[in-house]
């Protein structure tokens, strides 16, 4: 393997495990008795992770990192002020090259769960 390839493996490795492992896991069983956010986490894993998981290889994360210049994290999962209504608005309207999502993809119930999960760190 060339030095360049090695470098690519190294920079990608931090993020790689999470993305593909989660993709492979598919739809996570939403057992909310042990994890109150299991349902939302499953929606995130299926629909959001491929663009928003940690690492520069995820276009959503890269875009947010540049947009907020350190004021907010590039990784959506680390935001501490995300409002549920903001999540719902962006999912249903899209932004930049992120398209909106239809109800056959993310139902209203799934979207509620996702919004609850992504705003779990937001003080109420």
């Amino acid at each position: 393997m060339s030095r360049r390839s090695e470098a690519r493996v190294l920079y990608a490795s931090a993020a790689a495990g999470l993305t593909l492992a989660t993709l492979l896991a598919g739809e996570v069983r939403a057992d909310e008795s042990s994890d109150p956010y299991a349902g939302g986490r499953a929606v995130y894993t299926k629909w959001c992770a491929p663009c928003h998981d940690p690492g520069v290889i995820h276009p959503g994360t890269n875009a947010l990192t540049v947009k907020y210049k350190g004021v907010k994290p590039g990784v959506l999962l680390e935001w501490k002020d995300l409002q549920p209504e903001t999540v719902k608005f962006i999912v249903r309207h899209g932004i930049s090259v992120m398209p909106q999502f239809r109800k056959t993809e993310i139902s209203d119930a799934d979207l509620d769960a996702l919004a609850k999960f992504l705003s779990r760190n937001t003080p109420h």
Binding site: T19, G26, N62, K67, P99, F101, K103, E105
Partner: protein, 550 residues
């Protein structure tokens, strides 16, 4: 509530009530905020009154429900527009070709009906995405690969029907060619199976493509003659190893013989992975490198290099060539990839190098040697689709990044097919760059390289941005249509396009007074006399709307 043109509100209400009876109330969408979810997120008509929009949407869960919806649509003359996963971004998305159509959203039909490892095929419904099929295969540890385009959330069926392409072996990269057998709900609601599927209790539906008699599968792609509800695909047995190497050449004049050599190697199946051609000296990446450039930045170019590029003509000047040689930057770089047993692909790579040894100063480098299967967690060290792994990294195109501070709202793909020659690469650059400059279009402004998805031709795939400004979008749309016409004048045509450009593209296919389009219309009138199925898709209009064609 929006109403399809020519349908009374009473009839539309009756149709919607029947749709609800068929699929259940929660799967018929009529409120504006729900129907707006079917807008094309990358629409070049964004914020304009002409934007193509649906009147409603209905989401069936089974073939029987699709049949019932089609029968209802015939009864009330309601236009339908089926989508599979609705992710055809850059080529029309989930919006209809004719405003006011009811979108038939097939996303809920998401069953992987069969993956046969022993004979390497699959049978799937249209709502199955590449991610879904990949996951299904991985969970069961089946030793077959999918062939996917860059964005992995698209539909396996939908992408094939729109004649998309992928990145593994030549046998599988043309997604329509790699299909085997279809099930279609015809515009009258009847159910048709093609190929061997026409035999009741067929034992070989996914094993022999054409059946007997006319092979009609092609007419259900890029068309409006039915709703495909099942489709078979041949899959590649999981290879044992992957090798990717580069051939770097230093002279501008190497381009044409390089392409000829590639063509021989590929058509003789000495190389069968995705060939990827770049011009490092012109700053044009291989497709497999594009996401890396978007994520981490393109290679640094010195002020001297940039100055030489600004004065080069059609990617050439003697000074630029001399600079490339002095600096060790290849004029052309061909990425060859091989899948198979290690000893076989090493031998193929050796043979490929032997054929390129005739080029003075040719340099060879192995970039990747990968024992398969790889740990999926490590796939993103590569251009994932070349290893049969779906991803969404392609959305780095147009997205905000340190190298792109002003993200677009989307893009429309300009994608003409040109001959597989070096001369055609240069000629297409000459023709399109002159036209793009005149039209002030933001593509072909530097020397562009084509892609090698299909073995006997090149295809340029260039993104024209969609912006938030309707005036800019209008200018780009008009320019886009003129580029299509300019291509046609030179004997080149688009392979696929968004509804807003489908008439312009099909007008290029005008041999013998447009007999092809008239033949499409003859079929349309015979198969869909009420004209309810995707009116206008690929410029095929039913009789009562045909004046739209002119």
């Amino acid at each position: 509530m929006r109403l399809p043109a020519g349908v009374s509100s009473a009839d539309f209400a009756s149709a919607l009530a029947e749709f609800e009876k068929t699929v259940g109330k929660s799967w018929v969408f009529t409120r504006d905020e729900d129907v707006d979810l079917y807008r094309d997120a990358f629409s070049p008509l964004l914020h304009e009154p002409e934007e193509l929009v649906a009147s409603a949407a209905v989401a069936p869960a089974s073939t029987e429900e699709v049949q019932q919806i089609v029968r209802t649509a015939n009864r009330y003359k309601v236009p339908l527009y089926p989508i599979s996963t609705g992710k055809n971004l850059g080529y029309g998305g989930s919006a209809p070709a004719y405003s006011g159509s009811v979108v038939v959203d097939l996303k809920r039909m998401n069953r992987v009906i069969e993956v046969n490892e022993a004979n390497a095929f699959a049978l799937v419904e249209p709502g199955v995405s590449y991610f879904d099929l990949y996951r299904h295969i991985q969970e069961r540890k089946l030793r077959v690969w999918i062939d996917c385009p860059d964005p992995g959330w698209g539909s396996v069926v939908g992408n094939a029907l729109d004649r998309g392409g992928g990145y593994t072996n030549a046998n599988y990269r043309n997604h329509f060619d790699s299909h085997c057998g279809m099930e279609i709900v015809l515009p009258n609601g009847e159910l048709l199976r093609t190929g061997m599927g026409a035999i009741p209790n067929s034992k070989t539906w996914q094993q022999y493509k054409s059946g007997c008699g006319p092979w009609i599968d092609g007419i259900f792609s890029q068309s409006n003659f039915g709703i495909v509800t099942k489709m078979g695909f041949w899959l590649m047995p999981e290879p044992e190893a992957y090798l990717r190497g580069t051939v770097s050449l230093s002279r501008y004049s190497d381009l044409a013989p390089m392409v000829e050599t590639l063509n021989y190697l590929e058509n003789a199946r000495i190389t069968s992975g995705f060939p990827d051609i770049a011009s490092p000296l012109n700053g044009y990446p291989a497709i497999g490198q594009l996401q890396l450039w978007n994520e981490s930045g393109p290679p640094h170019q010195t002020p001297e290099h940039l100055k030489l590029l600004s004065t080069a003509k059609l990617g050439y000047s003697p000074e630029l060539e001399a600079y490339g040689m002095k600096s060790g930057i290849p004029y052309w770089q061909l990425w060859l990839s091989f899948h198979g047993p290690a000893e076989v692909i090493e031998a193929q790579w050796q043979a490929a190098q032997r054929h390129f040894a005739k080029f003075e100063g040719a340099k060879f480098r192995v970039v990747d040697r990968v024992k398969l299967p790889i740990d999926p967690a490590k796939a993103d060290a590569y251009h994932e689709p070349e290893l049969g792994v779906p991803s969404l990294r392609a959305f780095s195109i147009g997205a905000r990044s340190p190298w792109n501070p002003t993200p677009s709202k989307g893009h429309m793909w300009f994608s003409p097919i040109v001959p597989r020659t070096g001369e055609a690469i240069i000629e297409a650059n000459r023709v399109f760059s002159e036209a793009a400059r005149e039209l002030d279009m933001p593509l072909f402004r530097s020397f562009s390289m084509p892609a090698c998805f299909w073995e006997r031709c090149f295809i340029f795939i260039l993104a024209t941005p969609v912006t938030e400004d309707p005036a800019t979008n209008k200018r780009y749309r008009e320019g886009f249509k003129k580029l299509i016409a300019v291509g046609g004048q030179h004997g080149w045509g688009e392979y696929r396009t968004a509804p807003v450009f489908q008439k312009s593209v099909m007008d290029v296919y005008s041999f013998n007074d447009g007999v092809l389009q008239r033949f499409h219309e003859t079929l349309k009138d015979a198969i869909d006399p009420n004209g309810i199925m995707s009116p206008g898709r690929y410029a095929i209009w039913p009789k009562h709307l045909r004046e739209r064609r002119s």
